[in-house]
Symmetry: C2
Subunit: 151 residues, 2 copies
DNA sequence: CTCGTTGCAAACAGTTTGCAATCCG
DNA sequence: CGGATTGCAAACTGTTTGCAACGAG
């Protein structure tokens, strides 16, 4: 699932052209795996393989990939938009535990949201996606917080 | 709870000065109620009472209010940071249902997350806050989507 | 009086866009 | 070939900052 050939085919099907810049971008993208990458980081990776590529090309490609639902935008309040590869299995979303101290983002699978989803859909809202961010302190940071706990 | 006098006292306690600009800002803020206001909107409200006030003052005041945990930053991907008054009752958070079509943000109380929270804390993560956004289509928009459902 | 605060304008950073040259199909 | 795409630079937009004047305590 989600290999380069498939993405290339999908691009063509959409009427988009497959340029070397896009090919490299897709390659680097797949390297990123589950990480939450910024456009800048993606750009950096692409530049290593071809320094000629311009920033705006990456921005435009990312936009296309987002429309294709291959990546999703995430926001971790660090100043720039971050993206991650979409999960193929639509019903297995994951959540993000964000440490307020060190900034680490821990991913977490979960099934506990299903009851809540049923409740929401009962009210006539059609769920397409959801995003749960839990802010707090990871165990490492909490252990090192002597006296200064909770401010 | 959360009236102007209390906020003013808290400001002084922090060592901040209580200027007329800040007083107006707090007044307008309390008028906003539960809405998700942007700095621009707050600025607009303040300007009505005193057109002399500068934008940067509002930005700086908002920063202070955020540090005081009187307001929280929210992100609804509409281009600017939004804020809402903090809930006093820490254990009654609400979620946001965001309509992808009309952009409406519906608030929703919920208790279904408690099981999930227990699960998270069992792993040693200390929860301070959380934020659940559910993207989809509100019943109105879904009703008007003939043929074009899901893209 | 003193230091925090203000308003302004300029700086910033991430992102978008206009355009001529280029390239995919 | 023709229209999509590229790289560049310039434009944009929300937000931050430097600074002299001001004002709360």
């Amino acid at each position: 699932m989600n290999n380069q050939t498939q993405i290339v085919d999908a691009l063509r099907k959409r009427g988009n052209k497959v340029t070397p810049q896009r090919l490299i971008t897709i390659e680097v993208l797949l390297t990123m795996g589950q990480q939450h990458f910024s456009v800048e980081e993606l750009f950096h990776g692409v530049k290593q393989r071809n320094p000629e590529v311009g920033m705006s090309t990456i921005y435009r490609t990312v936009q296309i990939l987002e429309e294709m639902r291959l990546i999703t935008k995430r926001n971790f309040d660090d100043g720039f938009a971050r993206y991650e590869l979409c999960e193929m299995d639509e019903k297995h979303w994951h959540h993000h535990l964000i440490c307020l101290k060190c900034g680490r983002v821990i991913e977490m699978q979960d099934e506990y949201l299903e009851a809540l989803e049923k409740e929401i859909e009962k009210k006539g809202f059609i769920i397409i996606n959801h995003e749960l961010k839990v802010y707090g302190y990871c165990s490492d940071c909490y252990a090192n917080m002597e006296g200064e706990k909770f401010d």
